[in-house]
Each structure stands twice: as C-alpha cells, then as structure tokens.
Amino acid sequence: MIDVTLESVSKRFARTGDTAAVDDVDITIGAGEFFTLLGPSGCGKTTTLRMVAGFYFPTSGRIRFGSEDVTRRPPNKRDTGMVFQNYALFPHMSVAQNVAYGLKIRKVRRDESRRRVAEALEQVHLDGYGNRRIDELSGGQQQRVALARALVIRPRTLLLDEPLSNLDAKLREETRVEIRRIQREAGITSIYVTHDQAEAMAMSDRIAVMESGRVQQIGTPQEIYHRPANTFVARFIGRSNVLTLPVVGATADTVTVTLPGGGQTTVAAPADHGLAVGGAALVSIRPEHIGLGVATEPGALSARVTELEFTGMATHLTVDLAGEEVMVAAVDVPDGLTVGDQIGLRLPAHRMWVVRP
C-alpha cells in the first residue's frame, strides 16, 4: 500500500495554447484509499489520471508514489494497474493471455503465472473463461477481464477511467459494489475517474470535484454533499437551491441571514467566509431538506406552488418563495395539492450552509 501525491500539478497541451487542461492541482491520496476524481467532461479529471499513469507528463508540478518522485517516469516503469474506459483488451489474445500479459513482461514463472491468472479470474467470477476470445464476452465480462488484468500484476495503485460508463444501468450498480469489494480485499490505493456523481458518492472514500482543470473541493461524500464549497459543487452534486440572502450578523463560523418572506436564521459557514453585516450570503439548501406544511403554520414560510411533478418515490415541486424560485422534494405531499396552492415551507438551519460563488 502506498500513498499518491500530486503537488501543484499543471498540464498545458501545445495545441490548446495557454489554457491549462489541469491547473495547479494538489491532491494527497492515502494508502489504501478509494479516491474519485469527479467532474463534467473536459474538467481535466482524465488528464490528471493519465498523468498519474504516465501517459502525459505534467507541464509543471510533481507526482509522488510514497516518497518516490515518478513525475517523468515512463508508464511502463510505474507499476500502476489501469482499467480503461473501453477496456482496451487485446483482441488477438484469449482472456487468459490478456490477464497474463503483465506477468509475462515481469518474467513471472510459467506455473506461477498460470496460478495467478486463475486466481484473478476467480476473483472477478470468470473462472473457466480463460480460453475464450475477447469478442465472445459481453460488455460486463470484458470489464471484469480488464479489472483482473490490472490487478493480477499486484500494482501499487489501481487507476480506473470511467470503467462503468459502457455498461447498462443495472449492471453498473452491481459492478460498482463488486469493484469496491475487490479493492477493499486487495487493500490497494485506487483512483477512480467518473462524471457520474451517484457513482462517486456510492463508491468513494473521498472525492475531488473538478471543473475547468481546477479542484473545486476535496472531501468525503458526506462533506461534499452537505458542505459544498461553492455554487458549482452545490449544483453539480445532486440538486441544490442556492439563495442569495442579506447578512444581518456574522461570527467566525456562522452567518445570520434574513429569509425570503421574513424571519432570520443563523447558518454554519466556512471559517474564512469573509462576510459582514450588510453583505449578501449564498446559502445552499437541498430540495429534500425543505419541510412541507400548511401555509398558516407558525414559523413556516408561505410559498405558492408553480410546478409539480410526481415521480413515484417523491414529488418534485417548484415554489415561489417571496419572488425566489425554490425546488422542494417531498416524500409525502397533501392529497390534491396542485399548481397555484399556497403551502408552508420549513428551512432547517442545520441543513443550510454558506457557499462561495
């Protein structure tokens, strides 16, 4: 087990000129951690992973595996196991030959190699598939061969580049549990790249949210979800209301704001929020954290329903709260509620959080 450190890593491509694909990224990934790079396409997450794998060299900054500087080391000297988005299985080799490829290069003895290949295939539930041709396998099976091929060499880090994106929804959920199980058993430091926030939340120990080549926030799934650093993270992870509210009081880690439609509330804020009385704070609250009641209830804010969408498990409402458009997701809504009705909203202070722009 080994930790992976990226220190001020930047990557500029000659063809894109001055704009950095990856801009001054600092990340430390703990030994045995399952770490996810999450962001929309073009955010630099794959470029970052490819720098860790050695397919690109950073324009500046350093990459370390443990205390070893691997910044300019070629990919074949890094001892990483990578699972590619399209699996990149060698079509001219059998399943077993694919898995054995890395062992052959490492000059592992024939009988040991055979044993390890069998073990690896068993680990991904493909025992007995060794002699199959790659084009005889389904997408999910190919994905598991790719995983076995990466793991069988006992790499220092496992790199996964959107490995589930070519699978259908049901298989994707099964496979992510499976990947996590195998990773835990092997205790291997893993870096996972995805644009799917649900996948990132479900699998990761920690997540780095990236956008425009920069890391927007690093944290556990809970931290990212409940304490988004800025409006981008708040809106990219799940759905979020970001309300602009006047500040009437501030301490080191709280801000007191006036709510739309009256009343004041004190919400937690990051330590260096820099807000003062008279300013405006961006306060995020998730649609599912907003309570629903009758309009006349004491302490509730009165709002008018403008859109209503029943999805089965929950009802998604858009309401007009003193001129602000607010999304609400409720498991239970009053029967017969329709567009135009007045309802009461409760915004729990402990679910609100001050975000940066």
């Binding site: 500046s60 300019r72 070629p74 001892d79 990483t80 988005q85 944290g219």
Partner: protein, 595 residues
Amino acid sequence: MTVAPTAANLLPVTADPGPAGDPGRPRFTDRLRGGSTSAWFPYLLVLPLVLILWGYVVQPMLATFFESVGADGAENYASFFSADGVARASLMTSLIISAASVLLCGIVGVAMAFLLKRFSFPGRRLIEAIILVPAALPPLIGAISFQLLYSETGILPRGLQQLFGTAEPVLPFSGIAGVLVVHTFTMYPFFYLSASAALAGMDPSVEEAAYNLGAGRVRVWRTVLLPMLTPALVSASLLVFMTSLASYTAPLLFGVDQTMTMQIYINRTNGDLPMASTYASVLGVVSVLFLLGMRWYEGRRSYRSQSKGVAAHRREITNPFGRWFALGGSVLATAVLLAPVATIALVAFSADGSWTTEVIPSQYTTDNFRTIFTEPRAFTPILNSLQMSLIATVGCVAVGVLIAYAVRRLTFVGRGLLDVAVMLAWALPGTVVAINLISAFSTGNAFSFGQVLIGTFWIMPLAYFVRFLPLVFRSSSATLAQIDPSLEEAARNLGASWWRAFGTVTLRLMLPGVLAGALLAFVHGVGEFVASVLIYTASTAPISVEINNRMYSFEVGTAAAYGMLQVVLIFVVMVVSGRLETGRRSSREAAAWTN
C-alpha cells in the same frame, strides 16, 4: 484553488513547484526508455524516416529540376511556349488524352456502378466479380493485350474483316484512339469504385423523400443523386486525370510519341538528359498540383448521409424484353472484361512467328513456357524481378509501417509534411521517378553512400521502393486507424516498453493490413515497367522489359508467356488479399467490441 473548509481536507501545498517542465531531471537512458510519452521521442523515430523520404523522393526531384535548368534551361522551358514545338504539342496531347480519359471513364464507370448497384438482372453477380480484372493487369501486359485485341492487326478488327469480307480490318483502334481504349478499360474502376461506394453509403430515404415530395425520376437524378455523388466523381476525375498523365505504356504501344511521358523516354534514350528532366519537372509539378488539389478537395467535401438507414434497394428488371436484353448485355460485358486475359493466355501458347495475318494464331505449343524455365538466359528476368521486388517490398514495409505509425499516432511538428512526402512518391509518374533517380544518383551522394547507382543493380529496387512505398503506407495506415490507441497504452501500463508494446500489440494487430500492402507492393514490383525501362541494364532487366524486348523481336508467344506468369501471380495475390480482408474484418469487429 478552492479547498474544502474542514481542516482535515486542507492539503499540504509545496511552496516550490520547481522550474516548469523539469522536475527530477531524468537520466538520458531513462529518457530513451521513456518512449512515446516523452516529447522528443517522435523526432527520434521520425528523423530516419524524414531522411529516407528526403533522400529518395524529394531530393531527387530537386536534382531533376536543377538538371533541367542547367546548360540551356531557359531554352528548354521556353520550348513549352513556342507554338510549333514538340514540347508544347506533347503537353497539349497529354492534357487532351487525360481530359478525354476522364470523360470516357466517367461515363463507363458511373453507368456500371448504377447498373450493378441499383438493378438486379441475370449475370449481375458474375460481372461484379470480374469487373476489376482488366485494371488488375500489369501496365505493359495490359496495354499489349489491348493492342493484340483492338489494333489494326488485332483479333477483333481482323475477325470482323473476315466476317464481313471487307478489304480492310473493321473498327481498328490506333494512335490516340487506341490509347483512350486502354485508358478507359484500365481506369474506369476509379469511377466505378468511388461511385458505388457513394451509392452504397447514400441513405435511400433521402431519395425517397424527394419522390415523396413529388419529384419525378429525372428530377431526383438531377437534384438529389448527382449532387450527392459529386464529391466521389470529382475525386475520381482527379485520379483518372493524374493516372492518364502518367500513362506511358499505352502511348508507347499505340505509337503516340508526342506525349509528356514518351518525350521523357525519347529524350533520355537520345542522351538529352536536361530536356528529359525538363519534361519530368513539368510533369512532376502538374502531378503534385493535382495531388494537392485532391487533398484540398477531400478535406473540404461535406456531403455525408447522416443516418445509417436501410441498405440501398435494387430494382428488379421484370419486363421480359428487358431481361433478355440485360442477359445479352451481361454476356457481352463478361466477354469484353475477360478478353484481355484470355488473349494473353491464348497467345502465350502460340508458336513464335506463326501468327502473321490470321485472326488468331494458328500453331500452338508449350515451348514458350519450357523456354522460359529451362533456358538460363530466359529465366534471368524472372529471377531479377522477384529479387528486386522482394528487396523493395522489405524496404517498403519497414519504412511504410513506421511512417503510418508516426503520422497516425504521434504528434510532432511537420507531421502533415511527412504525409505529403509519402503521397508525393505516389503522385509522381513512374517515368518521372526514374528520371529523378537518374538525376540524383548518376553521381554519388550521401544517400547512395557516395556510390554511383545508375547502371548498378541497386537503382532498380530503389525505384520500386519509391514507387510502391505509398501502397504499404496507405494500407498500414488504414488498418492502424481501426486500432484503438488505448490498446497500446494498456500494454505500456502493464509494463511493456514502447518497442514491446508496439511489437506485441499494435504491429501484431496491423499485420493483415501490412501484409496486404506488402503483397500489393510485391506484385506491382514484379509487373513494373515504366521506371524500369529507363534505368535497367543488361543484367538487371526485369520481366516487363524482357516482354517489351521480345515483342520487338516478334517473339509474341514468349512475351505473352512471361505476361501470363505476371497475371497468375496477380490473381494468386488477389485471392490471398481477399482472405486477409476477411481477417481484417474480423479484427475490426473485435475492435468494435472494445469501443
């Protein structure tokens, strides 16, 4: 960057990011092993390729130009502008022949494409199977077969003469008309192939939409089908024009002396190298302009059917008269398409000197083949051709595969130029390639290690290498385009060095394409005549030159027997390539799985 507010998430920030792009300063050997990821690696790989292309393609071209502007350069070039000169007449004749060839090939090729792709009639499959046969013949033996068939002493005019009892042969082709017959039969595939590809790629619903909106058949043709075929037709026109300009054997056999290629040959054999170089330079420049025009046009062509749609439908011919007519047409077309090969085969078994005024030879024998294989002097050209072509093919594979890899997979300054340099070798007519090599290597230079190559053995495989490198390059490059680059990355990730990843994965998967290209280069080398005839020596005469010499000494049977060997080799290679093609398709399907 923004850091999450929780203290635990604050990251250690190193104050010293180091000088940009240079952390760690690896040792030179590490860099060498760094392979394809290091920024300078492409240049290490590309440098020898650039030197080869410069030394054997570009530099000889420049040498020809300098040769042409030597002693009386101004006078040589001025002769192209004087109204009564041979030079100007030759240029005009060449251009007229080329334009007429485009027109004729266009009509034949597009008509064939429409008939075969849009209609269903008896005999269609047979014609589709043999439609490329006349074009597959080596240039010299192809032209000879047409001469034996359609010239004044040819089988058809004499046959008709006997049939109708006329005094003169009926419908003989001679001179420019003869050249055009050869061109039409051997070059219409450019139109046929591109038009049928365009028709196959065309979404039939577009045509149906036009009918649905009320357009009649003629209107649909004029406003929908032809405009959609335009890109294919323009590309084919440029190709036919270039190939016609480069054509040498047809004017040689039908005695049209005033063409560019013939003038190159005549001036060279008369010892006027500067004038030959002037013709070669003019022809070279025109060819290069056509190449650039073609690349430009293909870069900007835009119509592509959006949807994959249903396969194009074939209209069944139901009218009984139409069916009989179609059947008759098919039989005739089959006869015409197979006639050249049949003629060569027939004549190959005729006794030398026995065929004078008869329609077909009167005496048959197997002596021609026996002579070729038993008489050492007669067998030498075959050995020469095989040996020289094999050497050239090995060179083509080594260089062509690496250039294809460099152009497709590496990023480096001047990648486009490398691509153009290979295609330059393809665009230059064989006669021009020969003159270029003569100009460059009649004295020693760095690329011939100081040796004079003219008059030696090595100039021949070198010429074949330059002419057929593009075949291997294109075939390799097309296969490489089908291979997912992440396969090589996966191998690298698993610990393979660049060389090993290239060898065990990329090259291995390219193999069918490389092999197909190599076979093509080899068989073209064995059939090569155009460049050979300008640079061969008595001891290096290849098969085609021997055929030409035998024709001159009226040993037509022996000449045809040599030709038959070339033809058999070509058909064997075509069958093998067909097998490779199916292999390639299966690997393409495999690649599709991983995409």
